[in-house]
C-alpha cells in the first residue's frame, strides 16, 4: 500500500515536471528570440525597421518594410484566389456533396494538407514559373507574387476548408429546418440562414488561413524571387504588381541566417519577432472568434 502511494506520488511529480519542461520551452523560445533581437531593436529602432524599406546588411541598414509588404501581398493574393474556392468547398462538403463525392473530396483535401511544402515549391518552379513567364510584360521573370499566391492558395485550402466545414456543420439543425419549412429552397437556406449562423467560424477559418500563408517559408523562397524591393506594378497596369518579385519575412530569415553575424544576425531575429507578433495577432483573433462561437 505504502509503495503504491509512493509510486503514485513520484509519477505525479514526474508528469508535472514534463509539463513544466514544455512550458519552459515556450519561455525559452520567446526569451531567446527576444534576447537575440534586442540589440537590433536598440540600435536600429523598431520604428525605423518597420518603416524603412532599405535592407542592406553591408551598410547596416535593416528596414523590413519591403519584406512586410512581400508577406502581405502574397497573403492577399492567395486569399483572393484561395478563399472563394476553399469556402465553396466547405459548403459543398457540409451541405451538398453526396457521400461518395464527400469521401473523394475530403481525402483529397487531407492529402493536400500533408504534402510537404517543398513539393508545392517544386511544382511552382517547374510548372507555374514557365507559364507565368509567358505573360508579355517587360521585367516579368516568372518569379514573383503571382506564383507565390497560386502556390499559397493551394496550401491554405485544407486549413480553411476544414475549419469552415466544421463551423457550417455546427449550425443547429433547427435553424435550417425552420427556414426550409417556410418554403425556402436549400440554397436560400444556406445563403440566408446557415452561412450567417456560421459566420464567426468561417471568418476564423479565413484568418487561420492568412496565418498559414504568412508563416510559409520554403515554398515562398522557391517561387517569389527573394529580391528585396517594395513590390511595385511593372508598368501602368496596377495588376502587374503581382508579377513583381518580392521577399517574405520568413524567407528573409531562412535565406540569410546561416551566414549572418553581429547586428545583421540580430536584425534577422528582429524579423522573427515581427513575424511572431504578426502571427500572434492573427491567431489570437481567430481563436477569439472560435471561442465566441462556442459560447
Amino acid at each position: 500500500m505504502r509503495r503504491r502511494y509512493l509510486v503514485d506520488r513520484s509519477v505525479r511529480y514526474l508528469l508535472f515536471f514534463s509539463a513544466l519542461i514544455s512550458l519552459f520551452i515556450v519561455f525559452m523560445i520567446a526569451l531567446f528570440t527576444l534576447r537575440e533581437a534586442w540589440p537590433a531593436f536598440r540600435e536600429i529602432g523598431l520604428l525605423n525597421m518597420l518603416t524603412s524599406s532599405e535592407w542592406r546588411p553591408g551598410r547596416d541598414q535593416f528596414g523590413l518594410l519591403a519584406m512586410i509588404a512581400g508577406s502581405v501581398w502574397a497573403a492577399v493574393g492567395s486569399m483572393i484566389l484561395g478563399v472563394p474556392l476553399a469556402l465553396a468547398g466547405a459548403i459543398f462538403l457540409a451541405e451538398v456533396a453526396p457521400v461518395w463525392m464527400r469521401g473523394i473530396v475530403r481525402s483529397s483535401v487531407e492529402l493536400l494538407a500533408g504534402i510537404p511544402s517543398v513539393v508545392y515549391g517544386l511544382f511552382g518552379m517547374v510548372v507555374l514559373l514557365p507559364a507565368i513567364r509567358r505573360i508579355p510584360v517587360a521585367g516579368n521573370t516568372g518569379f514573383g507574387i503571382l506564383a507565390a499566391s497560386i502556390v499559397l492558395a493551394v496550401m491554405i485550402l485544407p486549413t480553411i476548408t476544414n475549419i469552415a466545414e466544421d463551423a457550417i456543420r455546427a449550425v443547429p439543425r433547427e435553424y435550417k429546418e425552420g427556414s426550409l419549412a417556410l418554403g425556402a429552397t436549400h440554397w436560400q437556406t444556406i445563403l440566408g440562414v446557415t452561412l450567417p449562423a456560421a459566420r464567426s467560424g468561417i471568418v476564423a477559418a479565413v484568418i487561420l488561413g492568412v496565418g498559414r500563408a504568412v508563416g510559409e517559408t520554403m515554398a515562398m523562397i522557391m517561387v517569389i524571387g527573394n529580391s528585396i524591393v517594395l513590390p511595385r506594378p511593372l508598368n501602368s497596369n496596377p495588376l502587374t504588381l503581382f508579377l513583381s518579385q518580392a521577399r517574405t519575412l520568413t524567407g528573409n530569415i531562412a535565406v540569410e541566417i546561416s551566414y549572418a553575424t553581429g547586428l545583421h544576425e540580430d536584425a534577422l531575429f528582429a524579423t522573427g519577432v515581427v513575424l511572431f507578433v504578426l502571427i500572434m495577432i492573427i491567431n489570437s483573433s481567430a481563436n477569439l472568434l472560435i471561442r465566441e462561437r462556442r459560447r
Binding site: 515556450v26 463525392m101 492529402l111 511544382f123 487561420l208 520554403m218 522557391m222 530569415i253 513575424l275
Partner: protein, 304 residues
C-alpha cells in the same frame, strides 16, 4: 394593413408564385453546380500537383536511386540513400525526445492538473500558462522554431549544424502536436472507466496506467504518427539547423540533409529537376502511407 402586405408581395415575389419557384430552383441549380465545381477543384489541384510530380519523377526511381548516395554537382547525380538515412535518424531522434515529454505533459494536464488545483494558486497558474503556451506554440510558423534552434542549439550550445541541433529544434516543433493529441485522446476516455477503477481502490497512477492510457493509446499513437509526417515534410526548421551535408551522419554532431531538404537543394542549386521530383515522389508516397496508418488508428479508436 392588407394593402401593405399586398405591396410587399408584389415587389418581392414578382411575378406570381409559380415562376418565382422555378426561378428559385434555377438559382439553386446554378449555385450547386458552382459548389460542385469548387469541390472538384480541390481534387483537380491534388491530382495536378501529385500527378505532375509523380509522373515526372517516377522514371528516375530505381534501386540504384534508392540505394546510392547523392554525388552532388550541378547535375545532381547519384541517388538519395543518405537522405533517407538522415530522415530516419531525425524522425527517431525527435520522436524519442518529444514523445515522452509531450505524452507526460498531456497526461498531467488532463488527469492531474484539475485535481492539483486545490493545492496552491501557483500550480493552477502554471497550468493555465502551460495551456496558453501550447496553444501559442501550435500556431507559430516553423521558421521561428528554426530561428530558436539556430540561436540556442547551433550557436549558444555549440552543437553546430548537426543532427542534434535539428533533432532538438524538431522536437520543439512537434511537442505541441503530441500534447494536444494526447489531451484529446485522454478526454475521449469516458469518466466511468476512471471511476470504476478508482472505486476498486487503486491509486490514481494505477488507474491512469492500466485503464486510461490503454484506452487512449490509439489516439496517442495517432499524434505520434502525425508528428512523424510533420518531421518528414518539414524543411524550414532543418534548413537552418541541419546544415545540408549530403553525407550520411555518423554521429549526433554530424550535419546531414533530409529528403525534403534534398528536394529543396536539388531544385534551387542544381538543374536536376527530375531527381528533385523523384525525391518528391518518395516523400508523397511516405505521406500517403502515414495518412493510411492514421486512418487505421482512428478507425480502431472509434470502434472502442
Amino acid at each position: 394593413m392588407s394593402e401593405q402586405i399586398g405591396v410587399v408581395l408584389s415587389t418581392d415575389y414578382a411575378p406570381g408564385g409559380r415562376s418565382n419557384l422555378t426561378l428559385r430552383h434555377l438559382t439553386e441549380r446554378a449555385a450547386f453546380a458552382l459548389l460542385w465545381l469548387a469541390g472538384g477543384a480541390a481534387v483537380v489541384a491534388l491530382l495536378a500537383v501529385v500527378g505532375y510530380v509523380v509522373v515526372q519523377g517516377i522514371g528516375a526511381i530505381d534501386l540504384d536511386f534508392l540505394f546510392s548516395a547523392p554525388r552532388g554537382g550541378l547535375a545532381g547525380e547519384g541517388g538519395i540513400s543518405t537522405t533517407i538515412i538522415t530522415t530516419v535518424y531525425l524522425v527517431a531522434l525527435t520522436i524519442s525526445v518529444a514523445a515522452p515529454l509531450g505524452i507526460g505533459a498531456g497526461v498531467f494536464l488532463v488527469e492531474y492538473a484539475s485535481e492539483m488545483q486545490g493545492h496552491s494558486g501557483l500550480i493552477r497558474r502554471i497550468v493555465t500558462v502551460a495551456r496558453f503556451g501550447v496553444e501559442t506554440l501550435a500556431g507559430v510558423p516553423s521558421i521561428i522554431f528554426g530561428l530558436f534552434g539556430y540561436a540556442l542549439f547551433v550557436s549558444a550550445l555549440h552543437f553546430g549544424f548537426s543532427l542534434l541541433s535539428a533533432g532538438l529544434a524538431g522536437a520543439c516543433l512537434i511537442l505541441p502536436v503530441i500534447i494536444r493529441t494526447t489531451e484529446e485522446a485522454l478526454l475521449a476516455v469516458p469518466r466511468s472507466y476512471r471511476e470504476g477503477s478508482l472505486a476498486l481502490g487503486t491509486t490514481q497512477w494505477q488507474t491512469v496506467s492500466s485503464v486510461v492510457l490503454p484506452a487512449a493509446l490509439p489516439g496517442i499513437m495517432t499524434g505520434i504518427v502525425l508528428s512523424v509526417g510533420r518531421i518528414i515534410s518539414e524543411t524550414a526548421v532543418f534548413y537552418v539547423t541541419l546544415g545540408g551535408s549530403s553525407r550520411a551522419p555518423t554521429s549526433l554532431l554530424d550535419s546531414g540533409r533530409t529528403m525534403a531538404l534534398h528536394v529543396f537543394y536539388l531544385a534551387t542549386e542544381t538543374n536536376a529537376f527530375q531527381k528533385a521530383m523523384a525525391t518528391g515522389t518518395i516523400l508523397i508516397v511516405s505521406i500517403v502511407l502515414i495518412n493510411a496508418i492514421i486512418h487505421l488508428l482512428t478507425r480502431r479508436f472509434a470502434m472502442r
